[in-house]
Each structure stands twice: as C-alpha cells, then as structure tokens.
C-alpha cells in the first residue's frame, strides 16, 4: 500500500487524474487544507484567484464553454458557497458542465449553526444536476470521479461537492478510478430506430420543414451533422440564442435567430411551417412566445438527450431520446434529398424586410456624428475580427445586440447567459473563455450596469494577463429595463438612469488599456486600435440611450406578432 494522504491532497490528485489543469476559486477557513495542498501542485494545477466567488464560477462557466472541458470552482463554506449560487443556477439552466467544490464545517459541527455553516446541499439541490457531501477522506476520489462523469455526460450541468473540513485533514489511501457507469443514470440512451424512421418519414413528406438548432447541437458536437441534414433535405435552419454559431451565419440555409428579439424570417415561418425539427433545444418561453399560438400548422419532431424536456411546453408528434449527433447520424441516411427553393426563399424575403425596416437604421445611421447605436458597434467589431472571435455577452440590450449583430464563421463561438439571464455574467465568463481558448480572440459586449456587477474581475485580467476585448456599450442606463419602461410603463424611468464612473480610468487602474469613444467619427479608428492591440482592451462606447432592440415579440404575443419599432407591427407582404 502506498503512503496515506489527506483528503485535501486526495482531492487535488483526483482533479489532476481527471485531467484538470485549470481551476477558479477563492479561499477561506473551511477550504484551507485544500488550498494548502494546492500550493504543492501549482505546476500542474493552475488556480485563478477571482475577486468574488461569483466571478470565479462565471469564469469557470466561460472556460467550460470555450474549452469543452468541465469547469472547476473552489470556494469556502458559508458566504463563499452562497456567492456561487447564481453561477450554479446559471450553469444548470444553460447545461454547462461544472464541478463546484465548497468547503464545509467539520462533520461534528454540521447542523449546529457553526461559524460559516450553510446547508449547501439543501441550498443547491434544486439547482444542481447532483450534489453530495464528502464526510470521509476515502470518499473523495470516488466522489470526484462520479462528479466529473455526471457533470460532463448526458445533458451537462453543475455538480456540487460539499467537503467537510475534517474529511480534508484526515488520512486515506488514494486510489483513483474514473467513473463510467451509474446504474440509475444513462447519459447515452440507445436510440429508438422506430422513432428515427418516423421522424424521417415526417421530414420526407413535409413541404415546409424547418430545423431549430439549440445548444445541444454544440454540446454533442453535432454541428457537421446538422448542416449535413439541412443540406441533404434542403431544410432552413434557425438557432435559439444558445444555439447560435451551431451553423455559420453565412451558410445559405441559416435563416436567423428565434425568439423574442430574433429574426423575422424564422419567427414568422415558425407559424407557417408544416414540420419543425427541434434539435437540442427546449422550447423556452423566450423562443415560443404564447405557446397557444405557437406553430399551429406544424408537426413537431423533438430530439433531445433530456427526456424530461419532451412535451414540457410544446406537444411533440415524435420525439427521439438521445445524443444529438448519434440521432442525426441515424436520421441522415433515411431522409430523401429535396429541393425547397420557394420555402427557403420565403425566409430570405422576411429577413430582407427586417434589414430594410430595422437593421439598416442600426448599422447605417443617418447622422455621421453623435452617440452611437449598439448594432453598428457590434457589426463593426465583429467585422474587425473577421467574424472569427468568440462572442461573449452580458445581459440586457448589449446581449441582444451582441448576439444579433455578431457574425459567426467558427462553430460554438457564442457564450451568453440564456436561461437565467444573469447580469454580471459577461466579464468573468469572457475571462474564463480566453483562458479556455487562449488562441482565439474573445470579445465581450457588456452594458454599464452589468459590467459593474462583476467589475472587480478586472483584477483577474490584470493578474493573469487575460487578453479579452471589452466593448462597453455604455448608455448610462439599465437600457433593457428602460426599453420596457418606454414601451409598457409610460416612459417612467424608475431606477434606470445611472451615474457612472470613468470606466477607462477604472480599467487603467488595473493596467488595462482603453479608450472612450464619444462620437461616431471616432468609432472605426478605435475599433482597429483595439483589434491591433495585443492584450486586454476596453472600449467605452457612448451609446444613444434611446436606442432600442427590435424586432420584438412582446411577452404574451405569438412569435409572428412582431414589433418593428415602438408602434408598427410587421405585416408580411405574402
């Protein structure tokens, strides 16, 4: 038998045995034995100290999504753990693989309101894929193996390991064995051939099919198969927000984003389609609008790895339970080649109308001077990086403009908080993304509100030299809320104007280069300086606060009831 080691060291070694080399975290009393052991392994396990646990977990999320690895977060008990709750919930909603390790008071103190004791399992159970407390050092290695297996397989999600302090300090034999099987959990179900055949025949007999591509396509690395299916059967593809970049934006069959601020083509045609093939998406209410009015003419085929998503909000005609890639591979040989020029062109006609009625005023504003519009900034920045950058966004108008006006030539290049809509996600997620994909450009679109929710993470950029490009779309407003106040609350701007600091000076205090872009005439030059700069950069762009995100299907409306501006609805010409 080898020498005994502490539970804390067992954790570190198990992480390394799982192939982890990067972790994000923040120390404290109940996790100190782990941090002490980490000190001996700094050559193999690179710890990134965030400035707040929320920053650590969003960074781990960005890291996971950019690197296709499981993000690892370490924090102390009590407030350290509760500061992680937003990120855990965000990762659960957006299916991000995370292993979250929290310190916990020693087992003898559990349940006694000890100093910095929080019932972390109780708090996180509803927002985790799995959560378990480690109370004995010999349980560390199996728990870590199980945690990674659960977090990364099937529909990925966050797992919490709550690690009691005495289990960190007491001794155990160490033996690591990866977990590959849990009898109560089948992350890779056998695909029902009969359902595949059924789906194929629905596709083969459809006149007006469309594919809805979600995050699951990228989680299962099925981007190639998605395009293959679309091309073979000539089916237009629309993406959910989290599904963006599952197909390049320039692909002729890509017809735009779905949902509340999506493109007109796919939204209008959702209600004209006779077949919807939904892949790795979950019919979120931001995608469907009023479900009673959703896709009234369509049969629905739903492909997902999570059986609990079937018939949850939208009744399906066939659903196929399984990994998207495997299902698509089974489906493709059974679909007939087809040509549907007229149907595909109808998307383009609606989208051309959107260009004319909405996009044009955003990217080609009338006045050559003055404050800028978010759409023009995002499209120019995206272009400056050849549409090759990873787009990260915060939440708000900046998010909607960020995702709508970015181009994607590379797959899996959009990182945004979809299900939870977490302000403050952007900056740390961009940092994590850059650490996870150091060779790629990472561009963050963020608002003045959201940036200040996790502003402290500029410290991580400084300390670890993280070259993210921060495009601050600064309207001195909680713009998204302002837009709703304008549209639905008689322009009563309650608690949305904001007095802001000198952001460039703040960045400079962290050693980050930046510049103010006050006027449209300065924009192009500033963007090329940012693009040419090797390292982090902050552009503080002066945005017209009256700029609003359109098109828009207001809450409770059908997906084809689309506002083009504050008063006009889109009226299709056909």
């Amino acid at each position: 038998m080898s020498e005994k080691i502490t539970g804390a060291e067992a954790l570190i070694r198990a992480l390394i045995d799982e192939g982890v080399d990067t972790v994000f975290g923040y120390p404290g009393g109940s996790i100190m034995p782990v941090y002490d052991k980490l000190y001996d392994y700094t050559d193999r396990l690179h710890h990134h100290l965030a400035r707040h646990e929320q920053g650590a977990i969003h960074a781990a999320q960005g890291y996971a999504r950019a690197s296709h690895r499981t993000g690892v977060v370490i924090a102390t008990s009590g407030p350290g753990a509760t500061n992680l709750v937003t990120g855990i919930s965000d990762a659960m909603m957006d299916s991000t693989p995370l292993v979250v390790i929290t310190g916990q008071v020693a087992t003898g103190f559990l349940g006694k309101d000890a100093f910095q004791e929080t019932d972390v399992i109780g708090v996180t159970l509803p927002i985790t894929k799995w959560a378990v407390q480690i109370r004995r050092p010999e349980d560390v290695a199996p728990a870590v193996a199980r945690a990674f297996y659960i977090a990364s397989s099937g529909r990925p999600g966050p797992v919490v390991l709550d690690f009691a302090k005495d289990a960190q300090t007491s001794l155990t034999d160490y033996c690591f064995e990866p977990c590959k099987f849990i009898r109560s959990y089948d992350p890779d179900p056998i695909i029902d051939e009969a359902k595949v055949a059924e789906a194929a025949s629905l596709i083969n007999s459809a006149q007006r099919p469309m594919i809805l591509s979600g995050h699951g396509v990228m989680l299962s690395h099925a981007e190639k198969e998605l395009v293959e299916l679309a091309e073979k059967a000539h089916i237009p593809v629309a993406c959910t927000m989290l599904g963006l970049s599952s197909i390049p934006t320039a692909h002729p069959l890509y017809k735009g984003m779905l949902g509340m601020h999506g493109n007109i083509g796919p939204n209008v045609n959702t209600n004209r389609a006779d077949l919807i093939v939904a892949v790795g998406m979950r019919f979120d209410d931001r995608v469907t609008g009023d479900v009673k009015k959703y896709a009234p003419n369509a049969k629905i085929v739903h492909i997902d790895i999570d059986a609990s998503e079937f018939d949850k909000t939208v009744r399906t005609d066939t659903h196929i339970h399984g990994d998207a890639k495997k299902v698509l591979l089974a489906l493709i040989p059974q679909v007939n080649p087809a040509i549907r020029h007229e149907w595909a062109a109808s998307f383009d006609r609606h989208n051309a109308a959107e260009r004319e009625l909405v996009i044009k005023r955003e990217i080609e504003p009338d006045s050559p001077t003055g404050p800028m519009l978010m759409g023009e900034v995002v499209s120019k920045v995206s272009e400056a990086f050849g549409h090759k950058a990873i787009t990260v966004t915060d939440v708000g108008q900046n998010q909607m403009f960020g995702v709508r006006y970015s181009g994607f030539t590379e797959t899996d290049s959009c990182i945004t908080s979809g299900g939870l809509g977490t302000m403050g996600f952007g900056l740390p997620a961009a940092i994590g993304a850059k650490i996870g994909a150091p060779k790629r450009q990472v561009v963050l679109y963020v608002g003045d509100g959201g940036l200040q929710m996790t502003l402290q993470e500029l410290g991580m950029i400084m300390e670890y030299n993280v070259g993210v490009k921060i495009v601050l779309l600064n309207n001195n407003f909680l713009g998204n809320v302002r837009q709703w106040q304008y549209l639905f609350f008689n322009g009563r701007y309650s608690a949305t104007p904001m007095l802001n600091p000198d952001f460039v000076a703040v960045a400079a205090a962290y050693g980050i280069k930046g510049e103010d872009v006050a006027d449209r005439t300065e924009l192009a030059g500033a963007i090329s300086r940012m693009a040419a700069h090797d390292g982090a950069y902050l552009l503080n762009v002066n945005i017209d606060p009256t700029d609003m995100v359109f098109p828009m299907t207001p809450g409770g409306a059908g997906v084809d009831e689309i506002l083009l501006n504050e008063k006009d609805h889109y009226i299709p010409k056909d």
């Binding site: 109780g122 799995w130 109560s184 959990y185």
Partner: protein, 185 residues
Amino acid sequence: MDDQLYTITVFTENQVGLLNQISIIFTRRCLNIESMTVSACSIHGVHKFTITCRSNRTMMEHVVKQIERRIDVLRAFLHTDDELVYQEVALYKVPTNRLLQEGHLEGIIRRNGARVLEITDEYTIFEKTGHKSETERLFEELKEFGIRQFVRSGRVAVTKNKTEFVDLFLKEQQARKQRVESKSE
C-alpha cells in the same frame, strides 16, 4: 381540468437526501402531496416511494419525468387506481364506556371488517385496513362515540402489471454496464 388522484411510484438508490430531491419537484409546482410512504422494496438496496397527488395527467407526467431525471432515481411510474392494488391503514381511539353501553361493538367490527387492537377501561383502539373510502366509513360510524385520536397511513401499492419494470430496468442496466466496460478495455 381533469384533476384526479394519481399514484407515483419511485424506485431509488438508498441514499440520504432523496426525499428532499423528490419533494422539491412537487413544491416547485405548488402540488400538494396527499400521502407519501417510503420503504424498502423487493430488490435489495432499492427504496420505493409511493406518493399520491391530485392533479391533471399532463402535470403528473411531467413531474414523473423530472423525478426520473434525478441521478439517483432508478425509475418513476405514474398510475391510476385501476392499475394498482393498494391499501391504507387507519387507527381509531374511541372511549370504551359508550361503545359498551350502547352495545354496538360487534356490529361495527363485522360491518367494517375492522380489528380491535386494544381495549382498556378508558379507550378502545380499532384498526381498519382498506381504501380511503372504507377507512372513512368507519370514521363516520365511530364519530358518535367521540373519536379521541385518528390516524391514517399513506397509501402502499403494488401494480397489476405482468412485467416487473424495475427488474427489467436493472437487467438492462447490467447489460449496459457490460457494454461500457468492454468498450473501455
């Protein structure tokens, strides 16, 4: 809506925290659990939850899927009463003197198929096993004597299916385990 009483049976690994994992799925939807019984089942190491809840089928189907989605849950099933054989046990504590005075004891026991568990000068304890309507009927009959305590257990149920789905599931998992292990060698 078509609300009715459904029985959900859940088979789980024997681990702490499962009760919480399952019950929060109901709480989130504001569903009132009418009864819940947890016990070992015929398979070693597997626990069985029997839960009754009044709602509509769509809601219940969704709840079952959400329960099954939890990692430590083996299988969960939705049943209506006609698919089950089920029972509940009720205990009634009634003052003895009035029962004896009025000489009803034999009739009550015969009519209801009840049992007497204990008689003292002070009180008599009845036990009735049956469906809710039956235990309720006895409750109504005993009311006039003044019931001092009453308690009814949650439902326990077994299915009328010919196939034992959990056994089948475990066999399938055993096969899956072999597939996974042979792949990694």
